[in-house]
């Protein structure tokens, strides 16, 4: 049997925003609590803690997941990216972050990390989405303030900005 068999505490190693972490955690610790409490990355927010609201969305291996529905031990050996890991060098906002600011894609900000991370993963897969695709992709995240219009606009603007930047690079 491997050393991880039948134990209530497990030592894990994973990478978060490019930094390696090694920690002994309770097996029942969710990835969300690991990120917030053990890594000090409180940008990942916890709303419902049962997979409905999407505020805790992070990237694992580049794909969006609910960090409240994953145990930290399941991130063993994986690369995790949180909202803190999206900005460029010197804190330059990413295209999605910039668009959320310019299009008023947030009010109180509680749901924002989840939306920004989910939108980032979505646009990486689908750089030129239709409005209907944007709505569907964002339907897994709840916002109680904005009425969503600014958020949907922000994702569309971010897609456009990324596409323009890509065209510039090709020139």
């Amino acid at each position: 049997m491997p050393e991880t068999s039948g134990v209530t505490a497990v030592t894990i190693e994973c990478s978060v925003n490019g930094t390696s972490y090694r920690a002994t955690v309770e097996a029942r610790l969710t990835l969300a609590d690991f990120l917030r409490e053990r890594c000090g990355l409180t940008g990942t927010h916890l709303g419902c803690e049962h997979g409905v609201c999407g505020a805790c969305t992070v990237l694992v291996g580049g794909r969006a997941v609910r960090s409240c529905l994953m145990f930290a031990v399941q991130a063993q050996g994986r690369e995790v990216t949180t909202v803190e890991g999206l900005a460029g060098p010197g804190g330059a906002l990413s295209a999605v972050q910039e668009a959320f600011r310019s299009e008023h894609g947030l009010q109180c900000g509680f749901c924002t990390p989840g939306f920004v991370v989910a939108a980032t993963a979505f646009l990486a897969d689908n750089p030129d989405p239709s409005e209907a695709e944007i709505r569907e992709a964002m339907s897994g995240n709840l916002c109680r303030c904005t009425g969503y219009q600014g958020i949907l606009r922000a994702v569309a603007v971010a897609a456009h900005a990324t596409a323009s930047a890509g065209r510039e690079e090709l020139k």
Binding site: T8, V10, T30, A137
Partner: protein, 291 residues
């Protein structure tokens, strides 16, 4: 909203997982993607002393397609099923039901085998498995058996799996000939639990007669259901003789444990279920007749 303490097991092979299941039996629960199990643990609707994590067992991951069947490894994630071009061609219904499962972030972790073993009556994959005549490949230490979908779902969140058994893969037969497939689902928001939904597979012969029909219902009762009476009724008839609304009504007739909850009464669910069958039937027949 924190799960209770459990002992965590990460077996390195299926054999090790089966040994653990034999040893721990009912005290253990298998963890795959965790998209249904973790919320239940967090809300403490269920408590298990042991969790056996099969999420890293590569032998349970992936899709194989041959002339006869599409075989999906138990821990193959939903988003892979959704994107796989081979699945879209060989088992179109699987590709079409997957986008209805939760949201993208859920489908990135949720697994096909997990959904079927969890056996939520509102789940899309269990109903698709029923309608398509899928077979579950089930292993325990030293033995393997196959369980037809019609025998697999035994009650609310209950299956024919014994405590020492592990679902390792699901075999979906490829439907040949002029076949069509469709899903229709009604939920308050996209990705929510279905209030009622239906999946349909239908095959026509060269004279437009229905030679095979599979109608699965979900969200209606304590298990996913197969509308056997309606299926028997349409076999041998030409599709133009079949009225989709009538098939819908026949599909929900005689159901005696339709769920009533805050989303609606049993009567409402029956009506929605009938409408979903009618919608999916029309679409599936339309596809088959143009094939």
């Amino acid at each position: 909203m924190k799960p209770a303490v459990f002992a965590y097991h990460a077996p390195a092979s299926v054999e090790e997982a089966l040994d653990l299941l034999r040893e721990l039996g009912d005290d253990a629960k298998v963890l795959a993607g965790g998209q249904s199990l973790v919320p239940m643990l967090s809300m403490r609707l269920s408590v298990f002393p042991h969790l056996i994590d099969v999420g890293n067992l590569g032998e349970l991951d992936g899709i194989r397609i041959d002339e006869e069947r599409v075989t999906v490894g138990a821990i193959t994630c939903d988003s892979l099923v959704e994107r796989d071009a081979g699945v879209a061609d060989a088992a179109p219904l699987l590709s079409r039901v997957t986008p209805y499962i939760g949201h993208l972030a859920i489908r990135n972790r949720g697994t096909l085998g997990g959904s079927i073993a969890h056996a939520d009556p509102a789940g899309e994959y269990p109903a698709a498995a029923l309608a398509l005549d899928a077979e579950m490949v089930v292993r325990s230490a030293g033995s393997q058996r196959r369980v037809g979908a019609s025998e697999f779902f035994t009650g609310l969140w209950s299956t024919a799996l014994n405590p020492e058994e592990l679902l390792v893969e699901v075999d979906f037969p490829r439907w040949k000939g002029r076949s069509g497939f469709a899903v229709a689902e009604h939920a308050r928001r996209h990705g929510d639990f279905a209030i009622a939904g239906a999946v349909v597979g239908v095959t026509l012969d060269a004279d437009d007669r229905i030679v095979r029909a599979g109608i699965g219902l979900f969200g209606m009762a304590s298990t996913p259901l197969r509308a056997s009476t309606a299926e028997a009724d349409v076999i041998g008839r030409t599709y133009t003789d079949c009225d989709s609304e009538q098939i819908g009504h026949l599909s929900v007739e005689g159901l005696d444990d339709v769920v009533a909850d805050t989303s609606g009464s049993a009567q409402y669910r029956r009506q929605v279920g009938a409408a979903m069958v009618a919608r999916a039937w029309s679409e599936a027949v339309n596809e088959a007749s143009n094939a």
